[in-house]
């Protein structure tokens, strides 16, 4: 029986929070023990930013010497601002041992907005962060991150060409790809026997046989993927006519949706209250480990979907630039990178690392989409300022309850 408090609390305390979970931030509201425990591996909440030391050395390090070797004069400390459970503690320990770094501060944020807000507020005191690529242009414009010196990150050569020269950073100046994933369809394969390989098939099941048994993640950008791809449009379309058509589809879906939930959708899938879900791959590994929910399956719609790319960036006022470069290069050592994939459960853009990854993982669409789906992936551009999208989103949300 998956549905008891012990289980939920254990899950909350022990396991990884979905990468984009918002309620992790809501721990602020309750001072929740369980959610505090979610950020295990961090040395505390995001509130323990080393702002003082950062502010002190921010000015001094603004124009760093670019000529130092990767493993040059590495500082004794590194301040990282990252999603929770997103870098393997084993790798962190190995890094500390290799470069003699004594203090490795790993602070966490629950979403890109939190990271952005911190940077907008002034000197953050952090060296490196891992925003989603669609936020990188804003960070460049705001002057929060610095250009990377690739001569100090030779391991960049392992990055697959598909992850270079992307619209977010067309000249590959600022971002070092970290890992990527897709938005797709999670389903309980022991209940759902019908094929769900396209958005249209998914749509038919939601409004038909599995009405009231579908969860959508509470994320505007991801929800628009489905109607726009059904219409054969770009996921980033802001054409009024496209969005009007997408609105019709969303409003037809609304009465059939069980929940809009980015935080506990794995629980709803586990209890079979929901059998279909438009969501992210994050919770799948954990659901599979439980024999009751091992039938969880994931499909990357072949008519195209969104892929997100998280990237390493170096902050403008990084107090420890040498340690930062050492880390960025270290993390893309093939074996180190393979451990990252094993740990956080997201696909790596590092080709060489694949040699050290379990073939079962390599052939798993959860981590690495099949070739035909891969070809139709589209990177998300930040469209959150489009008024029409926002209006449709609000209308959709109100329609779900009504």
């Amino acid at each position: 029986m998956a549905d008891n408090l012990d289980d939920i609390l254990r899950r909350a305390a022990d396991t990884k929070v979905p990468r984009r979970s918002f309620l992790a931030a809501a721990g602020l509201l309750g001072g929740s023990a369980a959610l505090a425990a979610c950020s295990t591996g961090s040395t505390g909440g995001a509130t323990t930013a080393p702002a003082a030391s950062g502010a002190a050395s921010a000015g001094a390090s603004a124009g760093t010497d670019a000529s130092a070797a990767p493993a040059g004069d590495v500082e004794k400390q590194l301040f990282m601002y990252n999603w929770s459970d997103y870098t393997s503690p084993k790798n962190i320990d190995a890094f500390k041992a290799k470069f003699g770094v004594e203090k490795f501060q790993y602070d966490t944020y629950a979403n890109n907005e939190e990271l952005l807000a911190k940077l907008q507020a002034g000197a953050s005191g952090y060296d490196i962060a891992a925003p989603t690529a669609e936020y990188v242009p804003s960070m460049v414009e705001g002057g929060y991150i610095q250009k990377l010196d690739w001569s100090r990150i030779p391991n960049q050569k392992y990055i697959n060409a598909a992850f270079k020269g992307l619209a977010w950073d067309p000249n590959d100046e600022y971002q070092l790809p970290k890992d990527f994933g897709t938005t797709g369809i999670l389903y309980r394969s022991k209940v759902v026997k019908e094929p769900v390989t396209t958005w249209q098939e998914f749509y038919d099941l939601i409004v038909g046989k599995y009405s009231g048994k579908t969860v959508f993640v509470d994320s505007m950008g991801d929800i628009f993927v489905m109607p726009l791809k059904m219409l054969g449009k770009s996921i980033n379309s802001v054409e009024p006519a496209d969005l009007d058509a997408a609105r019709d589809i969303l409003l037809k879906l609304a009465p059939h949706i069980l929940a809009l939930d980015s935080d506990t959708y794995q629980d709803k899938l586990a209890s079979e209250e929901a059998v279909l879900c438009l969501g992210w791959t994050g919770p799948i590994v954990e659901l599979r480990e439980n024999p009751d929910t091992a039938d969880i399956a994931y499909s990357v719609p072949t008519d195209g979907t969104l892929f997100w790319l998280d990237t390493w960036v170096m902050l403008n006022d990084a107090p420890n630039p040498n340690a930062a470069y050492a880390f960025l290069n270290f993390i893309h050592e093939p074996e180190v990178q393979a451990e990252e994939t094993n740990f956080n459960g997201y696909g790596t853009p590092n080709d060489e690392a694949k040699k050290f990854i379990d073939p079962e993982i390599l052939n798993d669409p959860v981590f690495f989409p099949p070739e035909d789906a891969m070809a139709n992936l589209e990177g998300a551009v930040d469209t959150s300022s489009n008024e029409q999208r926002i209006d449709i989103w609000q209308e959709f949300k109100s329609a779900i309850g009504g």
Partner: protein, 302 residues
Amino acid sequence: MATAVQTPEEAKGIRGRGSSALLTTALIFPAGLWYVLLLVAPLIIVTIFSFGNRAKNGGYEAAFTFDNYVRLLTQTQRMEPFFTSLWMAVAGTIGCLLVGLPLAYFIATRATRHKGLFILLLVIPFWTSFLIRTYAWLIVLGRENVGGFIGSLIGDADFRILGTPAAVLVGLVYGYLPLMVFPLYVTLERMDRTLVEASKDLGAGRWATFRQITLPIALPGLITGSILVFIPMMGEYVIPQILGYGRTFLVGNALVDAFIQTRNWPFGSAMAVLLILVMLITITFYVWFVNRGRHGREVSVL
């Protein structure tokens, strides 16, 4: 008119008052500073922001425009969360009252020796995170427990409580009940019991005694309690998200969307200002209504 000449006693008195006023000022200063920095200043900032524009990459850009308010007030999908919040908060306050008044009355008047125990039982849940308590309701109301039980009673296998406004209401009443019980308890505890006995001696029935003695005495606590639960309920975010499955879309949820998903701080600020106005108007009306009733009753007693 008093003479301009001060007697020594008067002068001393004034000086005494002067230094005590200084002392009072000094004592109030930290609290005053707290009040200005953490209450007045944020309110002013929110109000200023509400007239601004969304910066290109989200956030706030200085401007003076009424666009945010116009958009808010003219689009039905923008106003809907306000109406949903309003009725949920009113229903939740009534629910707290229906549960809280008998409970407070019981603890104050009947639980003679165990008073402390009952108060403790009310307080203990506060030692646990609000989030965990809300998660616990997921199980209580779930299909394997209360939800499924009711479903089997009415013979509907698909019956659900979770994800409905009813679940949100249960969560609201549960979450804020102590804030209603304590003020009520304090007023009822101090109630002069001889008044009740006198009322009975004079031939009033239970209901008449309650209506004419207990209720008027409990009224200050009732007003305080209602306001204490109503305000946070209007801005509630976590309960509709967890127990309501994100299907009951309240102002709190709309605010999170504005600040986090669309990063439109000015629009979110306009929503926050409107929310404050709605609460002010509702509470003013409520206090006026209740006090008016009390005044009328006093007159009738006379």
